[in-house]
Structure formats: C-alpha cells, structure tokens
C-alpha cells in the first residue's frame, strides 16, 4: 500500500496544485458568504419628519441607508438620516418588506443614530433579517479594497467598490449635520467607493462583508471623495446610545490649533503640547484664565501631542470623555513660564437650540444657545432666532425676517423659547397686536404682530 502512496514530494506538489485551484474558490465562497450575510443586513430607511423652516411646521421626507447590527433589531445609521424630529421611520429589509422602526438615540457629533426595528411587527409578519458583523478598524490599511452598500438616490441595495483612501482623516464641520456640529471628536475613513446622497448611514465593508465604517459624507461635485465613521467609534457610540439615548460629553472651551512648525517658536520639544488658537469666551477655560497662544503640555498628568491635525480629534475626545463637572489639571506653557490651571468641565452643548413654530403668526424659531451666542458675539444667550416666516402671515407682515433674534414681546423679555410659547398661548386665546423687539445685525428694531 505504501507504494500506492505518492512520494511525499509529489504529494506536496499536488497539494500545492490543489491549493492553487481551490484557494481562490474558497476565498470567493468566504466572500460571498460574509457578503451575502451583510447584504441581508443592509436596509433602506425612509423618514418622515418635522421641519421648522419658512415659518411653519411642515413634514418632509428623506431616504437613507442603514445596517442591522443585532439580532434584536438595532440599526445603525447617520444622525443626518434619522433625528429626533423624525415622526415616522420605515425600514425596508433586504427581503423588500417594509417594517416600522423607532429612534433609540442620536449623536450629531459623530453623525450616528440608532434605530430599533418593530420586532412585534417582524414576528407577526414572520419576517426575517440578519445582523452584520463588525470588522477591526485598527487593521484597515490604505489601499485596502472596500465596498459601500446602500440606497443612493433611492436605488436600493447598490454596491460600489473602492479602496480605503485614507484611514485617519480629520474632517470637522461646525454645521455639517443639519446645522449641528460634527466631526470634532473623531477622524474619518476616506474612500473612493462611490458615495452618493442616500448612501448615508449604509455600511462600508471589507471583502468578507465585515462592517468597518458607516458612510456619511462626500464632497459633492468632487470625484469619489467619500467619508465614513470608523466602526470602532460607531460601536462605542451605538452602545452608549442604546444605554442612555444620548451621549454626554464634557466641555472646557479650548480651541486647539496645529502646533506643527511652531515648536521652535514656543521653545518646545517635538511632539509636545496642544496649542490653543483660542479659548471660547465665557467657557470654563476662559474663566480659569487660559488664553490664545497658550500651549497645554499635560491634561490630568497625561502628555498631549497636537502636532498634526489628525491628532486633535483624539485629544478632543479625551476631554469630552471626562466626567461632567470634574476638575481637570492643565499644565500650560505661556511664554517662558509654565503655569498650572484647574478647570472644571461643563456639559457640552450644541449651537442648535430647540425649534418651534407659531403657526398663527407664520413664524418658526429656534432657541439661542450658549454656543450660538458665542459664535455670533451676542451679549448673552437669551432670545430666540427666527428660522423663517410665512409670506402673508403676521410675522412676515410685521417685517420680521430669517436670522432676526426676538428679545422682547410687549414688556416681557424673551429669554427662552418657553417664554415665547406662553406669550403665544395668551395671544391665541385673546388675539391682540403684539409689540416685538428684535435684533438684526446688532440693530434693534420694533415690529407689530397683528392678529
């Protein structure tokens, strides 16, 4: 029998030949298995939501993509696809069946939102779905082939192919997600896989169907410059959204700049320090005495290195993840001095405040926030901003315009939206002309809203 056995060298060759034949097939099978599973987990998301533009409360709609990430029906998508203003969310499964879903939580800073499928409906209708698996973002390399899956322009289950163009792209935008800030606390995956409107919220996956990112943005008009939130951040954020419905971050008010090439000027060793381009007026850092041009050397004893733009989001994230209200020790270089500061963190707030529409007035408004007041150099954060007026309605007839800040009605100062709501209620009950004081480009004008 031994003779029948081929010599070991030949066996080796044969194995090699077989491997040569079989391995590509095996890889193809693995890819299609993983990929098929992934495809079963990608959904189309149709959202009906309230919008407070143009002086009215209106319903609008949008289409995005999403990926199911758990057997209990959690779906990961973009914050700019599904926000708290959504009133109806409908998810189209891979089977083309439509199922309702609810918003679990959203986080515009990372442009992520989590939905939950209506499992009762899924069971009742005996539908099925699969959940996708995450890949390891840390192992991604530039040039690696990736696929974007989603619903560009409503074209369900579209797959586009590209590579990771850059796996660590800083890309902050103060008004990137429906006017909300985004991208300050994370870097992005850049890909040349075609990403079009409607791809938002869909997964960026490897050849074996593992989710490595959530596609969210692209340069419109550019050729294939797409950006995705890395999966590790998506996992962390979604877990917290599931637990708390929102993400609480800490704020110090530091505005970092890039230290690159300035080390010599500040007499620093290379890879040391976080340069402050500025300090938000009225912020904890400003109150503690920090100022533009300071270089933060350590934060709670941890050395900082803000040499390159790519290094700033992780530092911002480190600050954001500190407990709200906790003291932070900063070692700061100012000129030739090294100073110690203790700064108490505050809760991070968005520039976008609560929105509302006063329909009889044809007026939609938004609360002025601390961040908005700071950006616009307002004296304080009181007042509401006019988002829009409906032509022919009392607010428009009075002369109010988008961007005006209402500060007073009659003799009652309007500090918060709630104040204006109660004034409106008494107007609705007993309509009478109202004298409105509003600020436009720092000019105070008076208007009369008549029934």
């Amino acid at each position: 029998m031994r003779d029948i056995q081929p010599p070991s060298i030949i066996r080796g060759l044969l194995l090699a030949a077989l491997a040569g034949l079989i391995l590509p097939v095996a890889a193809g099978a693995a890819m299609s298995r993983g990929f098929n599973r992934l495809l079963e987990a990608v959904v189309r998301i149709d959202v009906r939501e309230i919008e407070f533009e143009d002086g009215a409360r209106r319903f609008t709609g949008g289409i995005g993509s999403g990926v199911i990430i758990s057997a209990d029906g959690l779906i990961l998508t973009n914050a700019h696809v599904a926000s708290p203003q959504a009133v109806e969310i409908s998810v189209t499964l891979a089977s083309l069946e439509r199922v309702g879903a609810k918003l679990v939580g959203w986080d515009h800073w990372t442009d992520l939102a989590v939905l939950r499928l209506d499992l009762n409906e899924v069971r009742r209708r005996k539908l099925s779905f699969t959940s996708a698996e995450f890949g390891d973002t840390a192992e991604l390399y530039s040039g690696q082939t990736v696929f974007a899956v989603g619903t560009p322009y409503g074209l369900t289950r579209t797959i586009t192919r590209g590579i990771i163009s850059n796996n660590n792209r800083p890309f902050a935008d103060t008004q990137g997600v429906r006017g909300y800030e985004t991208g300050l606390f994370n870097t992005w995956l850049q890909t040349d896989a075609a990403i079009n409107p409607g791809n938002s919220g869909g997964p960026l996956v490897t050849e074996d169907g593992k989710v490595v990112g959530i596609n969210s943005r692209a340069y419109i008009g550019a050729e294939n410059l797409g950006f995705a939130i890395p999966a590790d951040i998506a996992q962390r954020v979604s877990a917290e959204l599931v637990r708390h419905g929102s993400i609480t971050r800490s704020y110090l008010g530091l505005v970092p700049g890039v230290l690159q090439d300035l080390e010599r000027f500040y007499a620093l060793e290379a890879n040391t320090g976080l340069l402050l381009n500025g300090v938000d007026p009225g912020s904890p850092a400003a109150r503690a005495g920090l100022r533009a041009g300071d270089v933060v050397l350590t934060l709670n004893g941890r050395k900082l290195d803000g040499r390159f733009p790519e290094q700033l989001p992780p530092i911002q994230q480190a600050i954001a993840s500190l407990p709200v209200g906790s003291p932070v020790a900063l070692e700061v270089k100012r000129g030739s001095q090294t100073l110690a500061f203790t700064v108490q963190t505050e809760k991070l707030e968005s520039r976008v405040g609560e929105e509302w529409a006063f329909e009889k007035w044809g007026l939609s408004v938004r609360q002025v926030t601390r961040a908005f007041a700071r950006e616009n150099q307002l004296a304080d954060q009181s007042g509401v901003i006019v988002l829009g007026v409906q032509p022919g309605y009392p607010a428009a007839e009075a002369g109010l315009e988008r961007g005006d800040i209402i500060t007073k009605v009659g003799s009652v100062p309007v500090r918060e939206l709630a104040g204006l709501k109660s004034i409106y209620e008494s107007f609705a009950a007993n309509p009478a002309p109202q004298l409105v004081e509003a600020l436009r480009d720092r000019h105070i004008s008076l208007y009369v809203i008549k029934p």
Binding site: L262, F265, Q377, A398, L446, K450
Partner: protein, 460 residues
C-alpha cells in the same frame, strides 16, 4: 396810457424772451459750470484712475464731486493728481483736494488759477425756489468719458414726483444729467443737482434665464435731482481741513425707524421716532445718560418728521446731528419703556476715522498695519478701554501674510508672543522683522469675528 401799454408790452416781451431763450444757447452757457475730473487712488500695489463729474460752486475755482466719487477709508494722501477738464477739452488744469463734508457727503476740490476765468459758478444763475410743479420739463448736461474728451450732451425729462430723502428730491421720468451735475428748467434757472442714480429693477430674459430679477444702476446719468433749495445753503461747507473736521458725534449706533404700526401700539399716533439700538461706551450719548433702546421722538422740541420709506427718518436724525458742531448741546425727547423724558446731550468729536488713521505698509511682509480705531473696536466688539493692537488694513495677494491666512480687518493682538499695546509698538516690531533679512518666520496672534488664531508667517 399808450406809453404804458407799450411799456407793458415790452416788459411782457422781455419776460417771454427770457423764458423762451433758446435751449442751445442756455446749454452752451451752462457748460461753464460743469467739469470732468480725473484723479488716481494710489494703493499699496497699484494706482487706480477715477473719472467723475463736478460742478463749479464759486469764483475761487471750488468744485464739488459726489460723495460716491471716493471710497470711504481712502486716505487723502492716497488721492493723487487731480486734473480738471472742461467739456470737450483735452487740456487739463491741476486741482487740489480740499476734503469731504460730513453733512452733504460732497468732496471739494479747487482748480488752479488759470482755468478759473473760464468757469462760471452755479450760484451765478437764478435759482428755482420752492417745489417745482409735477410734469415741469427740466434739462441737464451729460459728459462722455475722458477718452471722448468729456464731450457734453443734452438731456431732458419731466418732473415725475417729489420725495423727501430726507432732502427734497425730484424724481424725473428718465435720466436728466450726469451724477453730480446741475439741472435747469426751461428758463435756465438752477433747479437742482443730479444725485448718484438709484437702482432700477428689471427682469432678464435669455435662453437660459427665464425672467430673473436684476437691479441696474446707471452710472453715467441720473434721474434723481436734489432741489436747489437743498443745495445752495450748503455750498459754503467747504472743509477747513482735508480731514473734513470738525465732525460732531453723538455715539448712538444702529438708528432704526419706528414704523407707524409700532407708533400706534405705543400710543404715539401720527408721531415719528428713531430707536437708538446701541449707545456706545463713553460716547456723548452715554455720558448724557441715553440707554440702548431709547426711542427719540423730538430734537430740540421739533418732533421727528414722518417720512417714507420709514428708514429715511433715521437718515434725517443723523443729518440733524451732522449739521451741528462738536460742543453744541441739544435736547432729545425720548421714550424709555413707558416713560417720556428729556435728555440734554453735548455733542463730542467723531473718533478718528479710517481715512485719518496712521498706517504703514510692509512690503516684505505683504500687508498694511493701521491704528486700531474706535470703529475697529465696534467691529470686534471690544470696549473702548480695551483698544489695543493694530488692524490689518491691506493684504498683498500672494504675499507672506496672505499665505499665512491674514485678512483685511483682522485684529493683530500679539507679535511673536508679545502683546501689542500701541500702534507705535507694533510698527517698531514689524519694522524690525521687515529689516532682519535673516528672519525666516514670525508669529501673529490674530482675532477675527470673536475667534483668535495663531498664524505663522514664513518669510522668503
């Protein structure tokens, strides 16, 4: 009685003759009151020619130019080589810039002796008194461009309406004169001065535009004429210095009209008013105790006029201030909340203007630094007590500071990590950097829109 009748007939004929003097003759005679003016605005890196029209106002060769002839912020030292051309002439005479009057906005120049004999001031003609009847026909002079030797041409139109803007202004059916040039009636009386023309709304239709609204402004001719009564009393406001000072200052910012609906709600029926949005720190208004949001209803007992459009009353109020002098006192009747009160204000001197500010151009660094003024403090929302540093007046495109991201109106607060206390301090530091050929970089701390940033400027 026959002799009387003859006399009467003669005088009637004479009157008829005056009224019916042939327009070509009048036109040729009135050409002696108009000129084409050319000058250059010298900036850091270029020299822009400007061509405008002017009207002669006295026998000393004084000529007024429209306020729009020179951009605000241009320093008198930048205005070079004023040349005055008579219509159709190629031979210029030199002129000197005298300054801008704050009330009328006119720029004044004075032409050299040799041309004065050929000029006739606008005051030499009888003037139209009072309001003209609507539909009266007026005529005026237009001048072609310099490359056509400022050749004069005749324009005429009829008075369509009168408006107070706040000066009484006749709007004619079509263009009647070059902006800044006089307009006459059929008898040759001086009727008024053509203003810079107003914009007119049109729709544009083309193969790719379907009725898009646009506004057109005719820069060569105007159909708006400020009446002679509003011009003649102010011809004597020839600036005493090139700065145009003294300029009175109240220190209330953002004057907003009170519209009739608001007046009604405040139980101020048939009254007009101006809201003082912002009382500037340390200003005469502030010292007098005026507060943000005060509504001015009367000035020295005279109630504010009701003018249309509503915003004209704010212009009226501003002009009433400018008609006075620093040190003058005036009484404002104001409404604060529901209280009415009288406030006595002593006007001050207008803080230094951009055109008066010291500035210095740094060729190698590629920018002009300027004194940080009260107005810059307003822009950057800084209290007068905190006015430090220098303002960026000009940035040379492609220069080192432009590459670093510096922009005009930025506020430089630190140079190489040292806080700038005074203009002189900043200039000394920048001069040292400019002169140091071994210097390869310097660092600025700059504010813009409430945000600061550290800029590293690489020198080549």
């Amino acid at each position: 009685m026959r002799i009387f009748r003859v006399l009467f007939l003669l005088s009637a004929l004479a009157a008829l003759g005056a009224a019916a003097a042939p327009l070509p003759e009048l036109f040729n005679a009135r050409l002696k009151s108009v000129v084409g003016v050319e000058f250059f605005v010298q900036s850091e890196i270029d020299r822009q020619p400007v061509s405008v029209l002017g009207t002669v106002i006295d026998n000393q060769g004084t000529i007024i130019l429209p306020g729009a002839a020179i951009q605000p912020g241009v320093a008198p030292a930048q205005l070079r080589d004023f040349k005055v051309y008579r219509p159709g002439s190629t031979v210029p005479a030199n002129a000197e810039y005298l300054g801008q009057d704050a009330f009328t906005g006119w720029h004044f120049i004075r032409v050299e002796e040799k041309l004065r004999a050929e000029l006739v001031p606008i005051t030499a003609y009888p003037a139209l008194a009072g309001d003209p009847p609507v539909s009266e026909e007026w005529w005026g002079i237009g001048l072609r461009n310099k490359d056509e030797d400022f050749m004069p041409y005749f324009l005429s139109s009829r008075v369509a309406m009168l408006m107070k803007l706040p000066q009484k202004t006749a709007i004619l059916g079509s263009e009647v004169a070059g902006p800044g040039l006089p307009v006459f009636n059929a008898a040759g009386q001086f009727a008024g001065l053509a203003l810079t023309s107003f914009g007119q709304n049109f729709l544009v239709f083309s193969h790719n535009q379907n009725g898009s609204p646009i506004m057109l402004v005719n820069v060569e001719e105007s159909s708006a004429v400020m009446l002679a009564d509003e011009v003649l009393p102010y011809l004597g406001r020839v600036p005493q210095s090139v700065s145009g000072r003294p300029i009175p200052w109240l220190g209330a910012y953002g004057l907003q009209p009170m519209d009739p609906e608001v007046a009604k709600l405040l139980r101020l029926e048939n009254q007009s008013g101006v809201v003082l949005s912002d009382i500037l720190d340390g200003s005469p208004a502030d010292q007098a105790g005026l507060k943000d949001r005060d509504i001015v209803l009367a000035l020295d007992g005279q109630t504010l006029p009701r003018l249309k459009p509503d915003h004209i009353v704010a212009g009226w109020f501003g002009q009433q201030i400018l008609l006075r002098r620093p040190g003058d006192e005036l009484t404002l009747s104001i409404l604060r909340g529901t209280d009415r009160r009288e406030v006595r204000v002593r006007l001050g001197d207008e803080p230094k203007l951009v055109r008066e500010a010291d500035r210095h151009y740094f060729e190698r660094l590629g920018f002009t630094a300027r004194e940080f003024l009260y107005a810059d403090g307003l822009l950057h929302r800084v209290k007068p007590a905190d006015l430090r540093g220098v303002a960026v007046h000009f940035v040379k495109p492609g220069g080192p500071v432009a590459a670093a991201g510096l922009r005009p109106d930025d506020w430089i607060r630190e140079i190489d990590g040292t806080e700038i206390k005074t203009y002189a301090d900043a200039i000394a530091r920048l001069e040292a950097i400019e002169a140091d050929k071994d210097r390869s970089e310097f660092v600025l701390l700059v504010s813009r829109g409430g945000e600061t940033s550290v800029l590293r400027v690489k020198l080549i």
